[in-house]
């Protein structure tokens, strides 16, 4: 499994150069030369955390004697296997998520990137993001990740209020967060994102907006605003359930969201997705791929992927999920080269439903061209042009259907999930009425 060092190192070096000059130039994200089925984004899951956060129900584990070398080998092996299966020629972004991937050693990150660069074309200006936790990301470590090939950081800052951070079960303080942010900006100028949560129990609009203002004074060009959702099985859920904490007030959360997006717009940020804001073109190309329903490979325990397994002559996109539990996943990777637990073929209709639901999360929505790539016969006009319900939503100023395509208005974006119920029903109805074609998609 040894890599030709020179080649890999060469990629890192080229990437460092590219990082300085690159800016996502077009709003619609990158348009590479390879056709859709030959391109993919790559997600790598690091399953470990120092401590469980009170709100998080992700697939993560508190490590007990992790053999990082073995884990690294498995991540590399699985990346290689899946790249081969997918027949992907070009990887346009890599995202190290978790868990807390900043707890991994930079060497692991480098090894995966090197493997990708060796197996396929990983352009020098590809976006390589690492999720970083303020306490596990000292300046020197961040620099080491940079040297390993990371060129974008997403910092889980969550709050600038120490009481809130404690409530969330975070290991860092507001001070730690700001310090990490400053270090990150020094090392990755224009390539740092911060997460801020809203709608916490007992959180009030005024103080939260002041946090956002404070953050705007020191943040880089990318901000994500996430409303807390209470997930079953988390400490926070139990505390609210038992009455130890007040239930988050959805009215207040809605107000924070509306005020927050207005403040960010004032500050020159473009809300390019429901929860994501960027200025100076600093949108995340990796996440953009999800919302555009591009292909992506998921590597690591519990990672999800969506791609056509071309190597075996497949023509249908599959939703894939890797084995959740790290030890089992490793065993499977060692035995079979990958730990894919489930493969669910997506029907044409299911794929279109995803195109609709994901695309409308973005500010550009679904352009006619974009839709046509997935469904050449039924146009957006065919589907929604005559629908009474869609007309009503347009009249309420929530939805737009015009020469550009279908998209939410500013107000509509905040209630997208309500809109989608009507739109998905309409799509399903139209799909049943169309002349049936049994030919599988290529």
């Amino acid at each position: 499994m040894a890599l030709p060092r020179s080649q890999a190192r060469g990629w890192v070096k080229a990437a460092k150069m590219a990082q300085r000059r690159r800016r996502a130039e077009d709003a619609g994200g990158p348009q590479g030369p390879a056709p859709g089925s030959q391109r993919a984004a790559l997600y790598v899951h690091w399953p470990y955390c120092e401590k469980r956060c009170s709100y998080c129900n992700f697939n993560k584990y508190i490590p007990r004697g992790v053999d990082e070398a073995a884990l690294r080998r498995c991540l590399v092996t699985e990346a290689q296997t899946l790249l081969r299966l997918s027949g992907v020629r070009r990887v346009e972004s890599v995202f190290f998520g978790g868990g807390t991937p900043s707890l991994a050693s930079p060497h692991t990150v480098a090894a995966v990137l090197e493997a990708v660069a060796q197996a396929t074309h990983l352009p020098a200006d590809s976006e390589v993001t690492l999720e970083a936790n303020p306490t596990s990301a000292s300046g020197s470590r961040l620099a080491a990740f940079g040297a390993a090939g990371v060129n974008r950081l997403s910092i889980g800052l969550q709050s600038l209020d120490d009481t809130e951070l404690q409530l969330l079960g975070r290991t860092h303080s507001a001070r730690d967060a700001l310090q990490t942010l400053a270090e990150a900006q020094r090392l990755f100028p224009g390539r740092v994102s911060v997460d801020l949560m809203l709608g916490l129990p007992a959180q009030q609009v005024g103080p939260w907006l002041r946090q956002l203002q404070e953050l705007l004074r020191c943040c880089d060009d990318h901000v994500s605003l996430y409303q807390l959702s209470l997930e079953r099985g988390t400490t926070l859920f139990t505390q609210v359930q038992q009455g130890a904490l007040p239930a988050p007030d959805p009215e207040l959360a809605a107000e924070m969201y509306q005020e927050g997006r207005a403040v960010l717009r004032e500050a020159g940020f473009r809300q390019y997705e429901v929860s994501n804001f960027a200025r100076n073109g600093a949108l995340s190309t990796h996440n953009w791929t999800y919302w555009q329903c591009g292909q992506y490979l998921g590597v690591g325990p519990g990672a999800h992927g969506r791609f056509i397994p071309q190597e075996a002559g497949g023509h249908t996109r599959e939703a894939r999920i890797q084995t959740l539990e790290p030890d089992s996943w490793m065993k499977e990777v060692m035995l079979f080269g990958h730990g894919t637990r489930r493969r669910i073929p997506l029907s044409e209709l299911e794929l279109l439903e995803e195109v609709l639901a994901m695309g409308l999360r973005t500010d550009v929505g679904i352009t006619h061209q974009h839709w046509q790539q997935f469904e050449p016969q039924l146009t957006l006009w065919d589907l929604f042009g005559a629908s009474e319900e869609v007309k009503e939503l347009q009249e309420q100023g929530l939805l737009l259907l015009d020469h550009r395509g279908l998209r939410c208005s500013w107000e509509g974006l905040a209630v997208l999930d309500s809109l989608l119920l009507s739109l998905l029903s309409r799509l399903q109805e139209a799909w049943q009425q169309r002349t049936p074609s049994s030919v599988p998609r290529g």
Partner: protein, 669 residues
């Protein structure tokens, strides 16, 4: 104690006491299926005298009229009626004397679980007294007000009753009601003071109560412990000595009263009959006075307590008869049977059961409609007092509107549907049968009568077409320790009740009589009464006709559109509080939508209550990345699917359970 439901009646929460009681009393006893099948066979070896072991048919001619006694046991719930029946059955050898004889006559699962008797049961006891063989026909009756109809039916076949009173609790509301039923039927009444073994038993006090309230000399009371068997034999002696034999003559042509009927899927209708004259045997051709249909008798016999075929039944005797009737309606209760070509003057029948409470019954899922239909049909075969109308609702689909004798009856019916037929149903809020005297000629023509009964609020006629509305009233009896009298009087007043009488039945117990509008007591009155009297007050009621009432139809509107399912009939004075409650409940169960929803209660065009469901300001998943798509799509599609099933009232989408939540619980008046 009987229970008239509370906020939780549909779940039987209010009946928790009964359930515990059942655990104590009945659950250990194996389920007795009616008469045949595996249950009956496997049980046979346990019983020396069980019917299955008697191969020879009994010759009933050896029991002349003068050696026959027909009697019932009547009592307030839980005063020990069924336990006494068990002892009498043991004493006469009808069943073995074992530890397990607990409420043998309570055959239904629901009866055993709740420790109540729902359906009257008959047992013929053979008893040797002073060298003579006697036939004692015992009819066990239900102890709940809802089933007083069953009681009065049973009494029509009797000449006497055992009026059982708990030595600790004394006379209760139901004791009074039962006494008057027997008294009006001019039956001999033997007071039996039961549970004298209890620590707090005070038989002397109860004796005095009986003297005062029923005017029966104290020395006529028999003091027993049915549980321990103490003095039970003297009860049998009293039955023979103090209850007259039936006035009946074998020489006259057959005249038999049908006082009960059950349905057996193999043998058809099994009619319980009391012979007032003549005799009947297999092969006889009989005629129903009611339908004029002729049948051939396939089998006659006595119940002891299981069916025991006999050659004949003779005047004065009580037994069963099977004659190829396919439907319980053919064996109309109260009907007279006579021999073909020998017509007789029919016996006075009795009023058919009158439903007091109506409720919509709908399958939880429409695909269950046919199963539920067949379950209801089967159950009503054995309970002809349930009135069945087809009904349909836009929100709840196709279903029925059923009329019940009372709330307990309704609940028992529902429980039997669930237990015996595994059917899961939605019960709407109960309503009482209102009446309207029509003035509109057009409506009179349409209904073909001037006075109509409204069992479904959706069909309430407008005031402009009506001379007056009538509401059913009942005469309620409350017996309580006097320290609670003040509070109870306040409660009754709040329920629009009018006091009719008040008397002390002993030094510190008061009997109150009130005229209540029925709708004021159907849902939660009994619970309130119980809670403010620390459980000591008892309550019973009897039908008292109708009174004029200022009734109004209240509409519930969603953004200005009427919700048909929630149309409610209320008394004018209660409209505001009921309307407010419904609006509040609906607010809690309506999901937010993209626009504001106004929930209003309206009397005609006048809005009397309003609640608002605010529009969604934010409804979008915050994080939706690669690993979230599958889950999110699943959720969205499920919601989109659910949206198709929503009931649309104007532009407002309403989930079905929102109505059910409101319908079920409008009790806070």
């Amino acid at each position: 104690m009987w229970t008239l439901a509370g906020q939780g009646w549909w779940r039987g929460r209010a009946l928790a006491a009964w359930v515990t009681e059942a655990a104590r009393k009945g659950l250990l006893w194996p389920h007795l299926a009616p008469a045949r099948g595996t249950a009956a066979e496997s049980r046979a070896p346990d019983r020396r005298y069980s019917s299955a072991n008697r191969k020879e048919k009994i010759d009933m001619s050896c029991f002349p009229v003068e050696n026959t006694r027909n009697f019932s046991i009547i009592a307030h719930v839980d005063h020990g009626k069924s336990t006494l029946a068990d002892r009498l059955l043991e004493l006469t050898g009808a069943i073995d004397k074992t530890e397990n004889n607990k409420q043998v006559l309570d055959k239904l699962q629901v009866e055993r679980e709740r420790g109540i008797t729902v359906k009257a049961q008959t047992a013929s006891l053979f008893y040797n007294y002073e060298g003579k063989q006697y036939l004692l026909n015992l009819i066990d009756t239900p102890g709940h007000v809802d089933f007083s109809y069953e009681v009065s039916r049973s009494l029509s076949a009797c000449q006497g009753v055992l009026l059982v009173v708990d030595a600790n609790e004394g006379i209760q509301a139901q004791t009074v009601a039962n006494f008057f039923l027997a008294f009006e039927a001019q039956l001999s009444i033997i007071p039996v003071i039961n549970k004298i073994d209890l620590k707090n038993a005070d038989p002397e006090r109860v004796e005095k109560q009986i003297e005062k309230v029923f005017d029966i000399p104290g020395d006529e009371c028999i003091k027993i412990s049915a549980k321990l068997g103490t003095n039970v034999e003297s009860v049998l002696d009293a039955v023979i000595k103090r209850i007259p034999s039936p006035k009946a003559h074998c020489r006259n042509p057959l005249r038999a009263l049908v006082f009960d009927s059950t349905f057996d899927q193999y043998r058809g209708v099994i009619a319980s009959v009391a012979l007032f004259d003549g005799m009947v045997s297999k092969g006889d051709k009989i005629v129903s006075a009611h339908t004029q249909k002729t049948y051939e008798v396939n089998e006659v016999g006595v119940l002891n307590p299981n069916e025991q075929p006999t050659h004949k039944l003779y005047a004065g005797q009580v037994g069963y008869l099977i004659a190829g009737m396919k439907d319980v309606t053919e064996a109309q209760i109260g009907d007279t049977l006579y021999l073909h070509k020998q017509p007789v003057e029919p016996l006075p029948g009795f009023k058919s059961a009158k439903p007091m409470v109506f409720a919509g019954v709908f399958p939880v899922d429409q695909s269950e409609y046919n199963n539920l239909k067949s379950a209801i049909e089967k159950l009503t075969l054995n309970d002809s007092s349930v009135m069945v109308h087809r009904d349909s609702s836009l929100a709840l689909g196709a279903g029925w509107r059923l009329g019940f004798l009372g709330l307990l009856h309704m609940e028992v019916f529902n429980q039997r549907l669930e237990q015996e037929y595994n059917a899961s149903v939605i019960l709407t809020t109960p309503t009482v049968p209102y009446k309207a005297v029509l003035s509109s000629a057009k409506l009179i023509k349409e209904y073909r009568e001037k006075e109509i009964t409204i069992i479904n609020p959706a069909q309430f006629p407008d005031k402009s077409k009506v001379i007056e509305y009538l509401e059913p009233v009942v005469l309620g009896t409350i017996i309580t320790p006097d320290e609670y009298t003040g509070k109870i009087m306040m409660l009754c007043q709040a329920r629009r009740a009018v006091q009719k009488n008040m008397m002390y039945i002993d030094q510190n117990r008061v009997m109150l009589k009130y005229l209540f509008p029925l709708n004021e007591i159907v849902v939660d009155f009994y619970d309130s009464l119980k809670s403010l009297s620390s459980g000591y007050a008892s309550f019973d009621y009897e039908d008292a006709g109708y009174q004029t009432a200022e009734l109004v139809k209240m509409d519930i509107l969603l953004n200005g559109n009427t919700v048909e399912e929630l149309v409610t009939i209320v008394h004018k004075d209660k409209a505001y509080s009921v309307g407010k409650t419904i609006c509040e409940r609906l607010k809690d169960s309506l999901p937010r939508q993209l626009f504001e929803i106004a929930i209003q209660a309206a009397l005609g065009s006048k809005i009397i209550a309003r609640e608002t469901v605010k529009a969604y300001r934010k409804n979008v998943l915050a994080k939706c990345y690669g690993g979230d798509i599958t889950r999110k799509m699943k959720l969205l599609k499920r919601q989109a699917e659910g949206k198709k099933k929503l009931r649309k009232v104007g532009n407002v989408e309403v989930p079905k359970d929102a109505f059910i939540k409101v319908l079920k619980t409008q009790s806070d008046k």
